[in-house]
Assembly symmetry: C2
Amino acid sequence: MAVQVDESHARTRILEAARQEFFKKGYEGARMQAIADAAGINKALLHYYFNNKETLFNEIFEASFRKFIPHVEEMIMQEEDIFIIIKKFVHAYISLMQSQPSLPLFLFHEINKDADRVFKLIFNNAQPTMMLHLFQKVDKAQKKNLIKPIRFEQLVMNIMSMCVFPFLAKPMMQRVMSFTDSVFDDMMEQRKQLVADFIIDSIQIKNIQ
Amino acid sequence: MAVQVDESHARTRILEAARQEFFKKGYEGARMQAIADAAGINKALLHYYFNNKETLFNEIFEASFRKFIPHVEEMIMQEEDIFIIIKKFVHAYISLMQSQPSLPLFLFHEINKDADRVFKLIFNNAQPTMMLHLFQKVDKAQKKNLIKPIRFEQLVMNIMSMCVFPFLAKPMMQRVMSFTDSVFDDMMEQRKQLVADFIIDSIQIKNIQ
DNA sequence: GTCTATATTCAGATAGAC
DNA sequence: GTCTATCTGAATATAGAC
């Protein structure tokens, strides 16, 4: 007898509908009615599966937040060439954004409203160690005179900026610079290479002989 | 007889309180009660000055949006050296963000919810021509072989990313990389120089003789 | 212009039938 | 599990005194 293994269709549809609604509108802007409609059910059933709006939200938020920090720790630890690390990091981040384009705006908006609440919700799991590993590799490369002496935090800001910002600013940029969705997609695909090159070009110490 | 020239204190205080509340919480998250409290008045008086929440919001949104595009058109038109243009552009943008740190998140969030509504509200005034002027200068510099052949849109993305993103990601970055407000402020001050150099380093064609 | 008190609206939540 | 109908509460908005 199939002990209900399959996440009954309704529950799954609710989660997907809720994710989209919360991502687009934020917590307060999201409507339970809209979620129910998108999932093809009614509000009562929503409350049957998830007691209330906050429960539903938290479930989605936690899962989303974990995704925002890409799983590249192992790669960083194993790889020695700092330029390859940067290339792979950029690639991983842009790919993540492509698969979840409205994730960062959602996260930043919620964090902005109440950072403490958010981080309490998240950091029962310990602080991610990715940054530490990255720092060590950058530090080593600087000591070997492979890259210029830029402050680590500034370098990370630059990399993350160029990977994530376009997805935050997309609707605005599209208006100001008049390009279509398809052009945007092409640009983002290009950026996997372009951003990595851009970073490397600017930090690399070129030995001119 | 002083024909009420002075924007009676209350109205000014309301606008300032409302700006902060809307910037932090977004339209739906903002509370008229909170605005009234912060302005040191009560809700009824809010409705006396501004008929309703939406009116108040629109007033603030329009003014904010205009600010987001810095007034650098004249500078761009007059200056010939593309590297100086970039330096001044970066400086202007970061300075703007320093004076209005939560402006971009607010704008992007509201635009994300309903881009059409927002742009209808804004673009009675014509499309800003800044981008066009900037494009022409970049194009000219490329034809003179001063800078590498990067696509214009990508270059703009890179510049804006590095100027604006840190202010969007601040609370998140502070957690992940553990730095204080004062360190953040110092970093942003540094970035006026650093970002400009970073960009120029990566697009400049160096004539090695 | 500013207030207290009250009305209205609407979204989240519940009761209960099937 | 799923629905219709209803309740509750919170937030916006208004009436009207001073």
